[in-house]
């Protein structure tokens, strides 16, 4: 009987919090959303994607996370940034679903 109770206690001790795991996964995603382009570092977000997509000229200057103005070739940047964003967000979605499937005790 004792062993059963002890096992139960052990199982409960090993419980996991979906909220904590989700936050850790989100932090990793934010890290991964950083993209290097032209000696600059950009956090790729929907805002930056929309802005660059609507810019009328081929060349523009964007401020990176280190407060440097970086010369951007619109089409090249947009292609790389979209690809990067989609890859990272797909991974987040996939990992998020996997976390949901991990049964909480």
């Amino acid at each position: 009987m004792n062993t059963v109770v002890e096992n139960l206690v052990e199982q409960i001790k090993q419980s996991t919090s979906n909220q904590i795991n989700k936050k850790i996964l989100r932090e990793k995603t934010i890290t991964d959303l950083h993209m290097v382009y032209g000696n600059g570092m950009f956090l790729i977000s929907p805002t930056i994607l929309s802005f660059v997509a609507t810019w009328p000229d081929e060349t523009l200057y964007l401020e990176d996370v280190y407060e440097n103005p970086i010369e951007i070739n619109r089409d090249e940047f947009l292609y790389n940034a979209r690809l990067h964003y989609q890859t990272v967000m797909n991974t987040w979605h996939q990992k998020h679903n996997e976390l949901k499937q991990i049964r909480k005790i």
Partner: protein
Amino acid sequence: MNSNKSEKSRGVVVFAFNSENVNYVKIANQTSLLIEKNLKLPITLITDSTEHIEFDYDRVVVVENKHDNFRYSQHNEIVQWRNLDRYKVYELSPYYETLLLDTDYLVLDDTLNKIWLQDFDYRIMEESFTPNGIFNRAMGMASHNWLWATVVFFKKTKHTELLFEMINRVQKNYGYYKSLFKLEGNYRNDFAFSIADLVLNGYTTDKTRYLPYRMFTVEDHVANIEYLNDKLLIRQKDRVVISPLQNVHVMDKEFLQSENFKRFIKDVTA
């Protein structure tokens, strides 16, 4: 530019000064396997002990270190902490571009390699998060936040040389700086790097000298870390934390010296 510019331009430096409680050389042997696999850079070990060196380092720099320091461990015990003289890395690093890592930092992906591509003198880890939330990192009740000397990029430039000279000054005059900045506790490299950075930037913070993302830190006891289905299962006393494969700062030195840790390294580097 520094005149000691090395032919090998880029690499990682780790310090390992063994204490009564912790064999840092043994830990470095394991964590260097992760650095090698994920960053693919040469690694230099700076140590005062030639025993137990198993990893095939690019260079081993043996220095004399007679300094002792003490602090509370995560188990709330007073432990010997031989963390002094970190400022010497500027001279001792054979690389023009150096990534200085603590031995308890597990490099499990290649995100750090993105940093090399920008122009900078130095870049220090600013923020950290734990499973419990953002790490509270005030150097004292009425002091500034500290930076994490756990992960520091630097290039051998004049500005960086000043940074390390300032760190040396803080270490040697810790009583003065402790009083000036209202620091609490014994000397920490995190404090010295933070104060040096603050002073060098005219007593202001300059975010462009910091890394753009947060470091994942596990500060509490770790029973085991398992690598399963591309995830890390971090088993603690009363819970399991599930993380995607990412860099982790593990503060539990007892775990880092355990057989469980060796097993984890074997699994994750296979």
